[in-house]
């Protein structure tokens, strides 16, 4: 039986990483994610793992990619400005198909912004920040316990799909303290392994049946070549249009083909709803409270919480739009998530924004006021 502990979201992230087998962490201090690095600095040496504070944000993610290629399960954590700096190497990780997890505990931007204040303004930079075409998996927890669970899931997805996975946290959840009970053990997706020898014609980037390559780790005798140049199954750069198209398409298809299996959402009070709130992360907690209050007033409103932010829950949103008249998107930004929701509903429901970008989180009363407006219950 696991003991209950009072724990911060950022600490739970570190605990989840360790539970999932992360044995390498490289980072650079940045508010409000620093406690993740500090926790890893404490935990990893006790677990035969390596903690490394690097000279900058780019170096820390570079070290993570290198460590992963050498067989480690590797993680890095940062906030918006650091994430911006890592963008080139995130694309490298996607192109060279290197499993790893990058945590972004969001803060107010642009630029240095408001370092300790909550925001959800990185939704688009985690999806579209690096240059070129590539898919992204991003998960967003709303509680301390879920931070633990989604960190585990992020590590497992990164290994399964061989791609960097983003844990998209926000300052509210990162600095939130809750009583949690953590499981004794979790299911861990093992590192993929080659099933052929070099003599049998092994190619490190030839996809297995699930579209993901069984790339060898360095030091296993396969003499693989890894590059950020577009490459074929051998891993070597190739300048042909066919190889380029096939490589880019495969990067997308390996994730698209699993469809909704990795797109997690949570529905609350939606059975008979005519109105819905869509939210993620810490804001979903506020939205949940607001929806409960609205229900007390007799407003038929529910909540759709996005757990997987990317790939976007297009199908779930479309189903929602077919059931409700209008959707309120509650988010801590000038309006990012709302655009994606608007795109996904294909005009089948009215979409309104309840956004905030003033250093403070939304309050239940603010969301409630917007729900009332949505339902035509204006005072």
């Amino acid at each position: 039986m696991s003991k209950a502990r009072l724990m911060q979201g950022n600490e739970a992230c570190a605990e989840g990483a360790i539970a999932a087998g992360v044995n390498f962490f490289a980072g650079y201090p940045i508010t409000p994610s620093t406690e993740i690095a500090e926790s890893m600095a404490k935990l990893l040496p006790k677990k035969d793992g390596t903690f490394l504070q690097m000279e900058d944000e780019i170096a820390s993610f570079g070290a993570v990619l290198g460590a992963s290629l050498a067989g480690a399960k590797a993680m890095d954590a940062t906030s918006g400005p650091g994430f911006s700096l890592k963008q080139e190497l995130i694309g490298y990780g996607a192109c060279a198909e290197i499993p790893c997890v990058l945590v972004d505990v969001q803060r107010v931007g642009p630029s240095t912004g408001q370092p300790t204040a909550p925001s959800q303004g990185d939704i688009m930079q985690v999806r579209w920040g690096t240059h070129g075409d590539h898919p992204v998996i991003a998960l967003s927890p709303w509680s301390v316990r879920e931070t633990f669970d989604l960190t585990v899931r992020a590590v497992n997805y990164s290994e399964r799909f061989r791609t960097p996975v983003i844990l998209l946290m926000d300052e509210m959840v990162g600095h939130l303290r809750e009583r949690v009970e953590l499981p004794e053990s979790v299911e861990v997706y093992p590192r993929r392994r080659p099933h052929e020898s070099r003599a049998e014609g092994y190619e490190p980037y030839r996809p297995a049946s699930d579209g993901v390559p069984d790339t060898a780790d360095f030091g296993q005798g396969y003499h693989i070549h890894v590059t950020g140049l577009i490459h074929d199954g051998t891993g070597f750069p190739a300048g042909s249009p066919t190889v380029t198209r096939d490589d880019i398409r495969r990067l997308h298809k390996k994730i698209e083909r699993v469809g909704e299996e990795i797109i997690h959402v949570e529905e609350s009070f939606l059975e008979d709803a005519r109105f819905a709130v869509v939210a993620m992360g810490g804001t979903a907690r506020t939205a949940y409270e607001a929806v409960r209050e609205a229900r007390k007033e007799g407003i038929p409103v529910g909540l759709l919480r996005l757990i997987t932010v990317w790939p976007f829950a297009d199908a779930a949103l479309l189903r929602l739009a077919e059931r409700v008249d209008s959707i309120l998107v509650a988010e801590l930004s000038y309006g990012q998530l709302v655009r994606e929701v608007d795109r996904a509903v294909h005009g089948k429901a009215r979409v309104e924004l309840c956004g905030k970008y003033d250093m403070t989180s939304l309050t239940p009363a603010e969301i409630l006021a917007n729900i009332r407006k949505l339902a035509g219950r204006d005072a």
Partner: protein, 273 residues
């Protein structure tokens, strides 16, 4: 003919390399495989990590686990590899732009951190891959495509930087002095810590042509005539040093490498290995 023993370190069917006729990068690559052979590094446990640029294409030709990283980032990637699997011998190939411009911060911190890496910087004094723009090691008053009226910023001496930043082995040689270069790289491999070896290489195409330095062979003759072994250099009066530069091992110092220090840290933390 007996095939040369270093041929086993090249990937079958990958040569000829992409470097221009007369380029010195092939010679620096030759010195690396000569050193690897001399030191008997196991091919399955040696990793070659490179950045971006002409020099960094070397990794693709070499029959080891090889990693062609992003521009300037070879040292951080190599650091991750060495710490994740200390059994691996990690050799970094970088260029003057890659190492001292975009990767400058990683370079100095690599020296300071003293992870057991052997870094070989191919210094052709120019950005070759992009067609001849000035780099931090382009000498003063040279012509480049981005300095059409001559360079006006003083160049870096990468060996001085490495020494000041804490590297535990620092040396320099040239493409002309292949065997000497291989010897220094071998000493770098022997050093358990961050070793930095600067390999002067000629770029007749982008740098030599613009500055009327002649063919690759002419540029190598210049290396032969202007490089002075350190012991002789130290005896050379200042006026005789004009137009010449020292080669050799500039520094060797005993400092515990990162992995060893980290093992001690693990013990202090009460960790299990």
């Amino acid at each position: 003919m007996m095939e040369r023993s270093y041929e086993k370190y090249f990937r079958e069917g990958r040569l000829p390399h992409i470097w221009c006729p007369g380029c010195g990068n092939g010679l620096a690559m030759k010195a690396i495989v000569m050193a690897i052979e001399e030191k008997g590094l196991p091919q399955d446990e040696t990793v070659i990590v490179s950045g971006i640029g002409c020099s960094s294409r070397a990794s693709g030709y070499m029959d080891f686990d090889t990693l062609h990283t992003a521009h300037g980032r070879a040292i951080p990637f190599a650091t991750g590899i060495k710490l994740a699997n200390p059994r691996l011998h990690v050799i970094v190939i970088t260029g003057d732009g890659d190492c001292t411009a975009i990767g400058g911060n990683h370079f100095i911190h690599g020296c300071r951190r003293n992870v057991d890496l052997t870094v070989i910087m191919f210094n052709n004094e120019i950005y070759g891959m992009t067609g001849g723009q000035g780099s931090p090691t382009t000498p003063l008053d040279r012509l480049t495509t981005t300095a059409p009226y001559g360079t006006s910023v003083r160049p870096f001496d990468a060996c001085h930087i490495a020494m000041a930043a804490g590297a535990t082995y620092v040396g320099r040689s040239t493409a002309y002095h292949v065997r000497h270069l291989a010897k220094l790289i071998g000493e770098g491999i022997d050093n358990k810590g961050f070793s930095f070896i600067e390999a002067y290489v000629q770029c007749p195409t982008a740098y030599g042509r613009k500055n009327r330095l002649g063919s690759g062979a002419d540029m190598m003759k210049h290396m032969r005539d202007s490089a002075v072994m350190l012991s002789a250099w130290e005896k050379l009066p200042a006026d005789k040093r004009q137009g010449k530069f020292p080669i050799g091992c500039f520094l060797k110092r005993e400092v515990e490498d990162f992995n060893t220090s980290y093992e001690e840290l693990v013990d202090r933390a009460g960790g299990v290995r």
